[in-house]
């Protein structure tokens, strides 16, 4: 297993190199220019030249990339162009945990509600309960956050005065409830539908019939045999969700006044704040790889037929 992890991680630096060079080149060669955004109405060709030289943007792009990677390897992601005088690490270090906690809370909601709803719908297949659950899931998935957010705010903050409208106090603060719900609702739907489909697939398998035939109580059949096997595709989706945790949600963070990384990312894209964009991309890539690895490591626990590094044994 350790050898497998090592083998997977060896590829990470190469992937990062690939992703960073593409991101770097896209920024430098794409349209739009950080210096002109910075200068705004104070633009003049002369000032632009000067600031460009001061930021090192007048150099050969390959040289710029080399310098960037050298510094990044030492843990120095440079200074933001937009937030002048602030290091990128400083900008990100506090925001990533915020977005991660919010994302985790949303994930807990999605999983905590999605799996039971999906299981329930599958076991009641064909009944009115199934229809209601599936329709509800579809509706939940279709509702855009810019609708759910204001509606929740209207009900819970303005009318019922139960929850504050904005702000951040960490994972165990009441202010996380609404944004986590807004972020989590579409996830409930996705996970419920996946679970339902997957359970329906498993229920028809021979080993379920065998389990029942050998007189196993129905509760154990459901938990140990049906659910556990049905979770494999669900876990795969979770992997992607997990990777996206730290990238934050720009709209939800904006609505609820949460100092996360989503808003910063969008702002930095519009401002062509290359150092921030690069750092966010590199961190995102790393998290994605790690989350995928985590998911792969989870498979053998769910399905003993899966052997890491060996592929799936023939049935």
């Amino acid at each position: 297993m350790w050898a497998y992890i090592l083998r997977r991680l060896i590829w990470l630096p190469f992937l990062l190199l690939f992703v960073s060079s593409i991101t770097f080149a896209l920024g430098r060669y794409g349209p739009g220019d950080p210096v002109q955004v910075l200068l705004g109405q104070h633009y003049s060709p002369e000032v632009e030249q000067r600031i460009r030289a001061q930021l090192g943007l007048d150099r050969n792009v390959a040289v710029q990339y080399g310098i960037y990677m050298r510094d990044a390897l030492r843990g120095d992601f440079g200074e933001s162009y937009k937030y002048r005088g602030r290091s990128v690490s400083e900008l990100l270090v506090k925001r990533i945990p915020v977005s991660a906690q919010l994302g985790l809370a949303a994930l807990v909601i999605s999983v905590g509600l999605g799996i039971p709803v999906g299981l329930f719908a599958a076991l009641k297949q064909g009944t009115v309960w199934d229809t209601v659950a599936v329709a509800g899931a579809l509706a939940g998935q279709s509702l855009p956050v810019f609708l759910t957010a204001p509606v929740l705010l209207l009900i819970f903050a303005l009318k019922l005065k139960l929850l504050p409208t904005h702000g951040w106090g960490g994972f165990f603060d009441s202010r996380i409830i609404m944004p986590a719900l807004v972020l989590g609702i579409p996830g409930i739907a996705i996970i419920a539908r996946l679970t339902r489909a997957s359970v329906l697939d498993v229920v028809g398998q021979d080993y379920i019939r065998t389990a029942r035939a050998k007189g196993l109580p129905e509760r154990l059949v459901r938990v140990r045999h049906i659910l556990r096997n049905a979770l494999v595709p669900v876990v795969t989706t979770l992997g992607f969700a997990l990777a996206g945790l730290a990238s934050g949600s720009f709209i939800v963070e904006g609505f609820f006044g949460i100092p996360g990384v989503g808003l910063l990312t969008v702002e930095s894209l519009f401002a062509r704040d290359y150092p921030v964009i690069m750092a966010v991309t590199l961190i995102g890539t790393t998290l994605f790889v790690l989350a995928n690895l985590l998911v792969d490591l989870a498979y053998p626990f769910l399905d003993p037929r899966v052997r890491l590094g060996g592929g799936i044994v023939a049935r």
């Binding site: 104070h42 633009y43 005088g85 290091s87 903050a157 904005h166 702000g167 996360g260 808003l263 519009f270």
Partner: protein, 547 residues
């Protein structure tokens, strides 16, 4: 301060639910201000905390600041030789008085002996010299030093690395500094009110060059007590402020965003701007919020559609004029924009120094518009009119404002001119507008300092980098150059009036609105909250009454 991508601003308000809250808005008539009698002073209660929404300042280093968000905080924490009062006069701050040489080139500032840094040290002339020199130091990377301090002799050389000091700055003694400028420009003082010229403490800066501004030793009415990125920024009153201690104990800016209107109604903040979406509801007299609604005057800014006057069909002034006359500004402002804006008659916004109330602008006259179009060189065959594309900035797929749609319809119906709209993202838009690639574009201008030079010279001189329409009129250039150095204020303004008139006749722009005639909600316990069209140190005038 930056261009106002008008749509962008509107969109930000929508999407982020006005997470920046009311930008320091404009003044109805900033009349009764601080020069109140002692009796009134005593009546103003001290203490309390004002809470409002804000945005993360892009920097808190005054010499690096270049936008309104940063400036609004910096003017409270730092100060310069001069400042602006709520009547928009240039008044003493760290300098208690100044003399100007007869030729208008040499300014001698005498410092106020009571002016102190937050740590109690008296401000010295060397502090001023250090700060201005720091702004011009290429290592500081100030994006706006050319605009605000470029008139000082030696700043350009220092910026280009050709000098180690700024030759136009001379410390005469501990309390006196002499600044020499390159031409007798009477707007020079106004420029010194911007953060670029604010005084910083060298020891403070050098103690931690990377992060000193998070623990700044300023000279302003408030001290920076706490700043949590993306979360809160807390200012505490400077009780020893040399121009009079603030009434408030604290001012808190919530930086994380949120829905300003909702937070206001939930009593979480004291002030909010009202967007078009909430306006009807709040304007209704039966709504309890209606009593708290205040209306601000126009901001010192203008929104317009620029023509590239070298591009057909806009190379003929008659086409440009016709398009200006073909729609009814007043009607659109009232019916479509709920009077949130003032239709622009001239370039300078009402209330701005040098504003000419006699300017009539472009009155709605479709007949004359049609006639002008017919007289133009394209008039013989309007079907052959080159296609017109209007480019506007719009991040996040901003939609076209209803006002623009109405104007486009008017052009189509009255003149038979079809204008296509193209939207590009702000960064790309800037790049192209700076290269003058657009045939027609939507843009705005916000005043950097209160002087007509900041509109007319910067936008219409043929050599100005902000003249995106390629407008060039030798007579206008000559008048502008004359006005730069005219010492007599009245004569100067008269020159600018002439310029404005000539520009209007040449019509390089479709004039739109003086923006942000904002509606603002202010809690009844908040007093002395001036709605001003410029950023000035305003928190110190605010006081909270018991409610």
């Amino acid at each position: 301060m930056h261009f106002r991508p008008l749509l962008l601003a509107a969109l930000a308000t929508l999407v982020l639910a006005s997470c920046s809250g009311p930008k320091p808005s404009s003044a109805p008539s900033p009349t009764s201000v601080p020069s109140t009698s002692l009796q009134q002073e005593a009546a103003k209660p001290r203490g309390g905390r004002l809470v409002r929404l804000g945005s993360d300042p892009t920097t808190l280093d005054p010499q690096k600041a270049s936008d309104t968000t940063a400036a609004a905080i910096l003017v409270e924490v730092f100060g310069g030789l001069v400042t602006i009062d709520p009547d928009l006069n240039i008044v003493p701050d760290l300098a208690e008085r100044w003399d100007i040489s007869p030729d208008g080139l040499v300014y001698t500032f005498h410092l106020n002996p009571k002016a102190k840094f937050h740590d109690g040290r008296t401000v010295a002339a060397e502090d001023v010299r250090y700060s201005l020199d720091r702004a011009a130091d290429p290592k500081t990377q100030s994006p706006v030093v050319d605009t605000y301090l470029g008139d000082i002799v030696g700043v350009k050389e220092r910026l280009r690395g050709k000098a180690q000091t700024v030759s136009g700055l001379q410390v005469l003694d501990n309390q006196t500094i002499r600044i020499t400028i390159d031409a007798p420009k009477s707007y020079f003082l106004a420029k010194l009110t911007y953060p670029t010229a604010f005084v910083v403490d060298r020891k403070n800066v050098e103690s931690n060059p990377q992060g000193w501004f998070l623990r700044p030793n300023g000279t302003g009415p408030f001290k920076l007590a706490e700043y949590k990125l993306g979360d809160t920024l807390l200012l505490k009153a400077n009780a020893d402020y040399h121009l009079g201690a603030p009434y408030l104990d604290e001012a808190e800016f919530i930086l994380g965003g949120g829905s300003a209107m909702l937070m206001y109604e939930n009593d979480e903040i004291h002030v909010t701007g009202v967007g078009l979406a909430d306006l009807e509801r709040v304007k209704d007299p039966s709504n309890p919020l209606n009593k708290e609604l205040q209306r601000a005057g126009p901001q010192f800014e203008i929104g317009y559609l620029g023509f590239n006057v070298k591009d057909p069909p806009f190379d003929d002034p008659k086409v440009r004029m016709a398009m200006n006359l073909a729609f009814d500004r007043q009607k659109i402002a009232s019916k479509v924009l709920s009077d949130l804006v003032i239709p622009a008659k001239g370039i300078l916004p009402p209330g701005f120094p040098g504003y000419n109330s006699a300017v009539q602008g472009y009155a709605y006259n479709p007949d004359k518009a049609r006639q002008l179009l017919k007289e133009s060189k394209y008039g013989a065959n309007l079907a052959q009119l080159p296609p017109i594309t209007l480019t506007m900035p719009g991040n996040l797929g901003a939609s076209v404002g209803l006002d623009l749609e109405v104007i486009l319809q008017a052009w189509k119906q009255e003149l038979g001119i079809n204008v296509e709209i193209q939207q590009t993202e702000w960064a790309i838009f800037l790049e192209d507008v700076n290269r003058r690639r657009f045939q027609m574009y939507e843009l705005g201008w916000i005043a950097d300092y209160p002087d007509p030079q900041d509109f007319l010279d910067v936008l219409f001189h043929s050599q100005s980098s902000n003249n995106h329409s390629n407008y060039s009129n030798p007579q206008v250039d000559q008048l502008l150059e004359q006005a730069r150095v005219e010492p007599d204020q009245a004569k100067r303004y008269a020159l600018y009036h002439q310029v404005e008139q000539l520009v209007l006749e040449d019509a390089p722009w479709v004039l739109l609105w003086h923006g942000s005639e904002r509606y603002v909600l202010i809690k009844p316990e908040v007093q002395g909250y001036y709605l001003l069209p410029l950023i000035i140190p305003r928190l110190r005038y605010i006081y909270l009454t018991e409610q």
